[in-house]
Amino acid sequence: MNRRIFATILGIAFCATYLAGTTAMVGGLHDTTSSLAASFDQGPVLVYTDGDFANSRVGGDLLPENDTSFIAFCFANVTLTDFNSRTLGNVYAVSVYDPDDVLGLNMTDESLDTGVWVGTQLADIMVSKSISATTNSRYMLNRGGNMTIVQVSALYSEGSIMPDDWLLISRESMDALRPELEGDYSFLMILDSPIPLKEQPFYVKDTSLTPTSGVVGFFERGIYQVEQGLWGIILMSGLMTAILVYCIISIETEYSAPTIRILRGVGASREYVIRVFMFKALFITAIGGILGTAMGFCAASAISSMSSLANVMTFITPVANLRSVLLPFLISVISGAVGGFWPAMKASRMFVARRNDA
């Protein structure tokens, strides 16, 4: 192996090191975030089929079994009208089935009328529209062609997990507003479950599970976005490998021109010449890729273990998985094939003018 090829292998190894090290670091960051996310209490979990609760539906026959603590909600977007004909649109009316009375509103039995509760913010909005929001006030609620009349029992406190702009109504009123939802619910809130939620009966196709505290999910998904930046590294590393292979194979072609001419002269086909140079290109990139992948893990681990000296990224441990091992190698080989193809083609076009051709 001449020094030129050795230098090229080192160059390709550097590209692969860059890629392997970054992939291993991002993989480590991913794993760290996932394990942190799994260990966090992210609050009760919402179960629904559509982010717009007015379109979401969870079957009443799919409610959780005995040991699972949950609350089931029916949701309707209604127009509220008082008996002075003042109206307020876009009011969120909700009926609550809370078998364990977690909310303390005594809504443990849907067959009973436990009163109508107004959130404090909704009350403020109603007052701003000159609609009285005191107890015993009566309103008409309209949704499409359906209507019901409700009478306010009380305001619910600001400290509740529920928004302060909801109007809590009975299931009977909800059925009058949304008869098509009879027996079913818009969404569930799971407070505690002894079995994984994805093994519960309500987890069917199109079901979404979302924790009520989003900060961990934010950072988890944020890390996944960081991973997309890897494509930039892949592109740069691949491009550079292709350039290196192109250059080295071009040089080799230059130096091997007399040999190629002789080969062609004695009858070697173009495909044969292409095969020879492509083999050379792939051999160089494969060696560089393997060397670089190994060096990448060494470099990433070294950076991780020495990071405390610079107070940087102490929580990331590089991860060697199938992706971080195969990706740099494959990118190197693919780039090598791309970079080597053109000079190999050029080499295959060389021929010797025979004496009797002149």
Binding site: G11, C15, L46, G51, N90, I161, F218, I243, T314
Partner: protein
């Protein structure tokens, strides 16, 4: 012009592209936290979670003659349509005045109950005026069903969802009238600090350059750095009580690392460009080895050859650096316009200014010239006769055993 060929220039352009497309993006990543939390404004924050910043201070600040505009805000972190989204609790008019933003679609009827989405975020997660969405709490469990009232465009981030302060307080678990920070656009920062000193409340003032000034309190540098980050991100009593400070530490470590990571990547990109450049110039020189050999054989000395190669390399590096910068700029604009690169819900805005462009141009030219110099040094060690040979001198020829050994004869 011996080396000046279009394929060599194209190769060097690709090397320059590695710098010109990545460096402004990396610097944009480094700049993102400041863009989100400060922009070119002064941030007045609470000292720690036990001393709340009251929204009433906003009126005091706004009444100052040197204050152009101010906005009391709470930042929350949540997930919308499976995407990480930064939620900002604001008084909408104050926010728009401070940002120089405007509502491009829709309107807000109730200043205490609204959801206004940034135009970039709207297109990214497929929400528009009239759509309803589920919003959960940030560090505090909560849920909201919100309807998008309007779409805004602003000078800084258009990747956020704006909600009312009461909504944000519930998401972050803050008490009534509490906010996390007040951003202030002022013509006189010193006067602002003096005004705040006359108030009894202890606060921390952070300038756009990152200079932190405690007002009516004394904290150590270490505490100051930790608190600034903790306050801005996740410092709520309830969060600390339930989940500890892991995420806070995580964010803090991450933020501290950004500068080092970005610098490392810039150095690595420079090294990649150098390797590529060396390969291309090496190839260009070897392609002309025969001519170089002839020139050497007829008496050209090393200085003459060096001048010849370096002159061509200089012309190529100037042309390729200019073109590489131009193409890199177009790529960056394309990525930015389509919001292709995002981190933690925020589009990365590449940092492009005259200083950075000039820096990249000089760096690119220097890299190309350094690689040319290296190749020239290597070339000068080769004898003219070897350069003119049709085939390369192979090592096995040098080390070839004597004929008598090959033939099995004694000397």
């Amino acid at each position: 012009m011996m080396l000046l060929k279009s394929k060599n220039i194209v190769g060097l352009i690709l090397c320059t592209l590695i710098l010109s497309a990545s460096v402004p993006m990396l610097m944009g990543i480094q700049n993102t936290p400041q863009t989100i939390f400060g922009g070119d404004m002064v941030a007045v924050t609470q000292v720690n979670s036990s001393t709340k910043l009251n929204v009433s201070m906003l009126d005091t600040i706004k009444s100052e003659p040197n204050v152009v505009s101010a906005s009391a805000e709470i930042t929350c972190f949540s997930v919308v349509n499976d995407q990480p989204v930064l939620i900002r609790g604001v008084k909408l008019n104050d926010f728009l005045a401070l940002e120089g933003g405007e509502l491009v679609r829709g309107s807000v009827g109730n200043p205490e109950r609204f959801a206004v989405i940034g135009s970039t975020l709207a297109s990214k997660i497929g929400l528009d005026v009239g759509d309803r969405l589920l919003l959960t709490g940030s560090s505090n469990p909560a849920l909201f069903q919100l309807e998008i009232d309007a779409v805004y465009s602003g000078r800084y981030s258009e990747d956020e969802l704006l909600v009312s302060l009461p909504h944000a307080r519930k998401m972050a678990g803050l008490g009534q009238d509490a906010v996390l920070f007040i951003r202030v656009k002022t013509t006189n920062q010193t006067a602002l600090v003096e005004t705040l000193e006359q108030q009894e409340q202890a606060v921390v003032v952070t300038t756009p350059g990152g200079i932190v000034t405690p007002v009516n309190t004394e904290i150590t540098d270490e505490e100051r750095a930790q608190q600034q980050l903790a306050i801005r991100y996740l410092d709520t009593a309830q969060f600390k009580a339930t989940n500890g400070s892991y995420v806070s530490i995580f964010v803090q470590e991450g933020s501290n690392s950004i500068r080092v990571v970005v610098t490392t990547f810039i150095i690595l990109d420079g090294a990649l460009a150098f390797i590529g450049s060396a390969a291309i110039i090496s190839r260009a020189v070897i392609e002309r080895r025969h001519e170089i050999g002839i020139i050497s054989a007829v008496g050209a000395d090393r200085n003459y050859l060096r001048k010849l190669i370096m002159r061509d390399a200089f012309v190529m590096s100037i042309v390729s650096s200019l073109l590489g910068l131009g193409i890199g700029y177009l790529i960056l604009i394309f990525i930015e316009d389509r919001g292709l690169l995002r981190m933690f819900g925020e589009s990365i805005h590449p940092m492009i200014n005259a200083q950075i462009l000039l820096g990249m141009f000089v760096a690119s030219v220097l890299i190309h010239m350094a690689s040319a110099l290296m190749i020239e040094k290597m070339l000068s060690r080769v004898k003219p006769r070897e350069l003119m040979q049709e085939t390369e001198k192979l090592d096995r020829e040098v080390d070839a055993p004597p004929l008598n050994i090959v033939l099995g004869m004694d000397a």
